[in-house]
């Protein structure tokens, strides 16, 4: 088990290094330049050269890379090229709780809807209920999240005035203020996610319900509920948690547009602004953090397999 963990963690570090390196060079290869973005048409050639030297962008790409890499190993992700030249770690640490909060609430809402929906759909296969759930799932899947976000704001914030339309309040200022700012964006982000999981659970359950051990469970005279929760669901969850793991990682980076609509300055927004401004250190840092979450959630999924399925043992 510990050998497995060490091996996986080592693999995770390699993946993150590869991602960071790739992003570093890609940012510099694609057209566009932070100096041009900063000075626009205002600066002459001398000013541009001076700025370039100041930011260290006049050095060769490899030299820049090794400098950046050496600092990163010390935990220093550099400073933003803009404004008050805030350290990148600080920018990320500010944005991360917002994104994580949003992802967490979206995840909870999505799973809370998807699991019962998937179960109902599978047990009442080919009935009107199944069709209704499937229809809802496809609707949720095909609705653009920003459109759903605007719709939610119009209905629940503007008209009914149940929930705030924009902003973010940290958890330290109270659970309910924190939660009520996150409900609408979480629904907007989580709907498609929920639809995917519900479909996955349905198909996994349909497969499992045909299994011999389900007939054994029926022969014991178990109730439908015990058969579903005690026998079918644990088996059906094995393929489903793979998708849940990937989807959770996507929530970390994927809520860009929704964060914008609800004016939550999370990681997605940091990333987008960084890319638009060619703010190299910010983009590099944000991508590094996002890739860390991908790698970690994958690792978590692998460990969960072992918990759910006793046949899987890590050595």
């Amino acid at each position: 088990m510990s050998v497995f963990l060490i091996r996986r963690l080592f693999g995770a570090i390699v993946v993150m290094w590869a991602v960071a390196t790739l992003v570093f060079f890609m940012l510099r290869i694609v057209p566009g330049d932070p100096i041009a973005a900063m000075l626009a048409d205002a600066g002459g050639p001398d000013e541009i050269a001076a700025m370039r030297a100041k930011l260290g962008l006049d050095q060769s790409m490899l030299v820049q890379y090794f400098k950046w890499f050496a600092l990163m190993l010390e935990g220093d992700l550099g400073t933003s090229l803009y404004g008050s030249h805030q350290p990148v770690t600080q920018i990320i640490l500010e944005a991360l709780p917002r994104t994580l909060s949003l992802a967490l609430i979206a995840f909870v809402i999505a799973v809370a809807i998807a699991v019962p929906a998937g179960i109902i759909s599978a047990t009442r296969r080919n009935t009107a209920t199944d069709t209704a759930v499937s229809f809802a799932a496809f609707l949720g899947l095909s609705m653009p999240d920003f459109w759903l976000a605007i719709l939610l704001i119009i209905v629940f914030a503007a008209n009914l005035q149940w929930l705030p339309a924009i902003g973010y309040v940290p958890l330290s200022e109270g659970f309910w203020p924190w939660l009520k700012h996150l409900i609408l964006p979480a629904i907007a982000v989580g709907t498609a996610f929920s639809a995917i999981i519900a479909r996955m659970i349905r198909s996994a359950l349909l497969e499992v319900l045909k299994a011999d051990y389900m007939r054994t469970a029926a022969a014991k005279g178990l109730t439908g509920r015990k058969m579903m929760l005690g026998h079918a669901l644990p088996n059906a969850m094995i393929p489903v948690i793979t998708v849940i793991g990937i989807a959770f990682a996507l929530l970390i980076s994927g809520a860009v547009v929704v964060e914008n609509v609800f004016a939550i300055k999370g990681l997605g927004r940091v990333l987008i602004e960084g890319i638009l401004n060619r703010d190299y250190p910010v983009v590099q840092g944000a991508v590094l953090i996002v890739s860390a979450f991908f790698v970690l959630s994958n690792l978590l999924v692998d460990l969960l397999y072992g918990v759910i399925d006793p046949r899987i043992r890590y050595s």
């Binding site: 051990y213 054994t216 469970a217 022969a219 005279g221 109730t223 026998h231 644990p234 088996n235 046949r311």
Partner: protein, 326 residues
């Protein structure tokens, strides 16, 4: 009172509004503490009939006629919930595939105790104690440790022993064993059959032993019911059937079983042809295309089951059959 009496059971496959009969007019009965062997090739309807008794025939199949009386109750009059109440506690079943019949993600203990806790109302500890006793009874060593293990950690024979323990867990009156040894190594088939038969006898449980191997049932059953193509063709006490098989199919089956007493050089006699596809419509007796004694009557009219000594036989020419087996 007869424990289980199935009369004129008919099971249909219903697909797109079309009906196709898979089991015709099947009748058999089991007394308390007694064993009935139901013998037939695959597709003969033997497993289907058993599943109908316990109320677990799959979607698309339907009991289309006949009655099933169990312990004085008419099962066809029970609703789904009453039928569920009966399963496990009154009627239990052992399946063919021990490798896939246990849930891979739940421990042996959990699968063995859940029925007892639900049906016998035992506490966690009482159920565990009973589980240890049951595992010991089915010949599993170190039962306490086994309870914590998962199906993939034990052998096929051991899993079937666990299935037997599960079947016995709630003190049923009847156990349906559907080819319980077919998937096992030949060397342990005898042990498992012996175990099922002995435990059922000790606990006074009626047993329906479904098998395709007429040779193995002789020792374990009082009565034998031979099925062919969805029909019961012959029913008789086991001892009688082995000596005087009346139906040509039964005789064919017996002639194809190897015996030690057989003279050297006299080979086994196979039954010509293959068992019919359950979807095929055959007029008259379903065995007539393969029957050495078939007459015109056989292809025209379905033979009616009638008494012939201790036998019930469904064959127009059963009397012509001179018992040759000794």
């Amino acid at each position: 009172m007869t424990l289980l009496r199935v009369e004129n059971l008919a099971i249909d496959l219903v697909r797109d509004g079309h009906r196709h009969r898979l089991v015709h007019d099947a009748s058999f009965s089991v007394e308390r503490g007694e064993t009935l062997a139901v013998v037939g090739e695959s597709g003969s309807g033997k497993s289907l009939s058993a599943l109908a008794v316990i109320g677990l025939i799959s979607e698309g199949l339907e009991v289309a006629g006949g009655t099933i009386h169990f312990d004085g109750r008419d099962l066809s009059a029970l609703d789904a919930e009453e039928m569920r109440g009966l399963r496990g506690s009154d009627i239990a079943m052992i399946f063919q595939e021990p490798m896939t019949s246990l849930n891979p993600v739940r421990s042996i203990g959990a699968q063995l105790t859940e029925g007892m806790r639900l049906k016998l109302g035992l506490s966690r500890r009482e159920a565990r104690e009973r589980a240890v006793g049951l595992l010991t009874e089915v010949g599993i060593s170190d039962p306490e440790a086994r309870l914590l293990q998962y199906p993939h950690q034990i052998s096929g024979g051991m899993r079937q022993r666990v299935m037997i323990a599960i079947a016995l867990a709630c003190q049923p009156k009847l156990i349906l064993a559907d080819e319980p040894t077919t998937a096992l190594d030949v060397t342990i088939q005898g042990q498992i059959l012996e175990l099922i038969a002995r435990l059922c006898k000790e606990h006074g449980v009626g047993l329906v032993l479904i098998t395709h191997n007429l040779g193995i049932v002789a020792r374990y059953s009082q009565n034998v019911c031979v099925m062919y193509g969805g029909r019961v063709v012959e029913t008789a006490p086991a001892a009688e059937l082995y000596v005087h098989p009346l139906h040509p199919y039964t005789r064919g089956l017996l002639a194809s079983v190897p015996r030690l007493s057989q003279a050297r050089g006299t080979g086994l006699v196979p039954i010509e042809g293959a068992p019919p596809d359950p979807m095929e419509v055959i007029p008259g007796c379903r065995f007539h295309p393969r029957c050495p004694m078939a007459t015109e009557e056989c292809s025209a009219k379905v033979p009616v089951a009638r008494h012939a000594g201790a036998h019930m036989v469904a064959c127009w020419n059963a009397e012509l059959a001179e018992p040759e087996m000794a």
